[in-house]
Symmetry: C2
Subunit: 377 residues, 2 copies
């Protein structure tokens, strides 16, 4: 553990002037008998969520993906000549999976925490043994999706509980991605499930193709797409109207937890997409009304729930090995999340816990105003 | 000028430990041959916008008025026994007018700036000579309303250009208000126009009466009410749905100027009002749709204007004495406001300037995204 910062400093970071500075910013935690030191913010050229396991194994964070607000001309400005691959972006929980060398793969959250539950799910649902035997330094970047996950709850047809989709494979120490075509072939050859590839086109024709893809995804209530250069290094994301409205409803349901930036940024995405997709303004009013309903209805519903002393917060289901489901609940509580366990049952070998992450700020502030507290501007 | 801080310290502030601390926080400006030192934030028990004129005359800031998010039980919690007066709250520009002793009244903005234009308008439109002769230490707190003002543009029936409404009279040095009934009598006796008084009731019956008033004001597109204890010291405000939607439209028209808190706080007011006023949810969907239209339509319109290289920003009209209208434009530019003069005409003795306050952040950031800039989260 003590040399995590030096490990990072020695192997990776030409800009760092001092390992002590890195050491100071690493947050340490122990899970599954492993000592982890994670970087909570991007620093010295290292991505947020970069983590060192047992002082030796570096696991780079997943880079932040920039967003296009309008497709034309952003795609052409963002990508050089060549082609652009368009893949589906899934609404789930972004994890990185590595094998430090002992055949026991570990799964890390976006912010660099070793998650025992996701680790168990990855070991159970993905055939990782053969993959890491052939590619020991790889980092498998996957989205945990489906209605039964402790982090997100988006439905996908064909996913009754939860599943992984591998959207990237990188070198765990350098963060360098595999080219898109090699990555897709490799995942296919090991049977790792992947998000859909819509196609590869010249940058000039990408906006039209993405627009078609987005309209289809929008009808099915899905999130959006990620565009990638063939070498996998340049990325750009773009999302559907349905996703923007779902995000607003999500934020409005626990308004005092999500922050104001969350609200503003979703309204902004909607406005730029409406501008680009709806040149004659024919659908603009309908879109505006849907947006208003997404914002106000869940907010009022939450006030009613607080007034009736019902619980407020997002409901989740964790399903899996009893020990690891227990570890998950401990893991969430260790971050200060208050949990209401709504159901705790056995189905065969599995423990299935339905729980609410209590939205404490929303509950307490809404209660304060309903009890006659004033808002002082 | 040099003794502005000591003047404040000596006369007013029992908590200040050091006049140097006050001096450090005073912002100095000269207007109309007067040296002013204003406090940009509340400090040491002094309100934001407290100003010292020529080192001698203290003009207290107008206190921040807390807001009710629900009327019941907030009114009963906020006011002690006794009665509560309910007056209309007007959507205009809040100014304080004092006479430092030479018969030349001066008008100060909420943040404590001496505004030459508003001063000229106050001297022209209000009969202040007799008032200050009888009450030399008074501070007249008034709203500048109407479609032709350099600060706000809300229409009021019967106000073709602009007018004042006096909503409070206080001691300029202590900030102590006149009781509501004495203030209304005094203003009436000097012919100073006032906002409407809806009535005075026991706290328990105020929510019902305010709700009636709010529903009437809402239909006419007006802002709301201020509730006051009879002595004028305890205040509480509450606003209409029409006002919330107008504010959202205003913010959405120049989205990168207004800030995220602005958006969130207006949605919050709507949600609590919808919860309280619409118990059966019959009007909730209509309210939500109106809210969505208020947000998205002006935002998309602004993007279209930037795309077409048209100007973006709020349009205003300044009408009055040519010299003072010129001083107003200089005053605004001195705060870094970029102005587009759209028309500059004479009508009789008056100069009438129609101008746009250019929304530079909205123009530049919208242009950046339309040119293909990405949004990095």
């Amino acid at each position: 553990m003590g040399n995590a910062a030096e490990t990072l400093y020695d192997r990776l970071d030409p800009d760092a002037t001092d390992p002590a500075d890195l050491a100071e910013h690493l947050e340490r935690h122990d899970r599954l008998g492993r000592g982890c030191a994670a970087l909570p913010d991007a620093r010295h050229g290292l991505e947020r969520g970069t983590v060192v396991v047992d002082g030796e194994t570096v696991v780079r964070g997943y880079p932040s993906v920039p967003r296009a607000l309008v497709l034309d001309p952003t795609v052409a400005e963002h990508f050089d000549a060549g082609r652009v691959a368009v893949e589906e972006k899934l609404n789930g929980f972004n994890v990185r999976i590595v094998d430090p060398g002992d055949g026991d793969p570990l799964a890390f959250t976006r912010s660099g925490y070793l998650c025992p539950y996701t680790t168990d799910r990855a070991r159970t649902l993905l055939d990782l043994g053969a993959f890491f035997a052939g590619h020991p330094d790889a980092m498998v970047c996957a989205e945990l999706i489906g209605p039964e996950t402790p982090y997100t709850t988006h439905d996908y047809e064909g996913v009754d509980s939860h599943a992984f989709r591998v959207f990237d494979v990188r070198d765990r120490a350098t963060g360098e991605p595999l080219p898109v075509d090699r990555r897709r072939e490799r995942c296919a050859s090991y049977g790792l499930p992947q998000p859909r590839l819509f196609g590869e086109w010249e940058p000039e024709s990408v906006p039209g193709h993405v627009r078609e893809a987005i309209e289809e995804l929008d009808e099915r209530g899905r999130e959006g797409v990620v565009m990638k250069s063939p070498d996998g290094t340049t990325m750009l994301k773009y999302t559907t109207e349905a996703h923007h409205h779902a995000e607003l409803a999500y934020a409005a349901g626990t308004p005092f937890e999500r922050g104001r930036d969350f609200l503003f940024s979703r309204v902004m995405r909607e406005a730029f997409q409406a501008y680009e997709f709806d040149e004659d303004g024919g659908r603009l009013r309908e879109r505006a009304r849907d947006l208003g309903e997404s914002l106000l209805l869940p907010f009022v519903e939450t006030i009613r729930e607080v007034a009736a002393d019902e619980g407020v917060g997002d409901e989740h289901v964790a399903r899996g090995d009893p020990e690891h489901v227990g570890a998950l609940l401990d893991h969430l509580r260790s971050f200060g999340v208050e949990l209401d366990v709504l159901a705790d049952e056995r189905e065969g070998d599995e423990r299935v816990v339905r729980f609410r992450k209590v939205a404490e700020s929303t509950r307490d502030r809404t209660r304060h105003y309903l009890d006659g507290g004033t808002y002082d501007e």
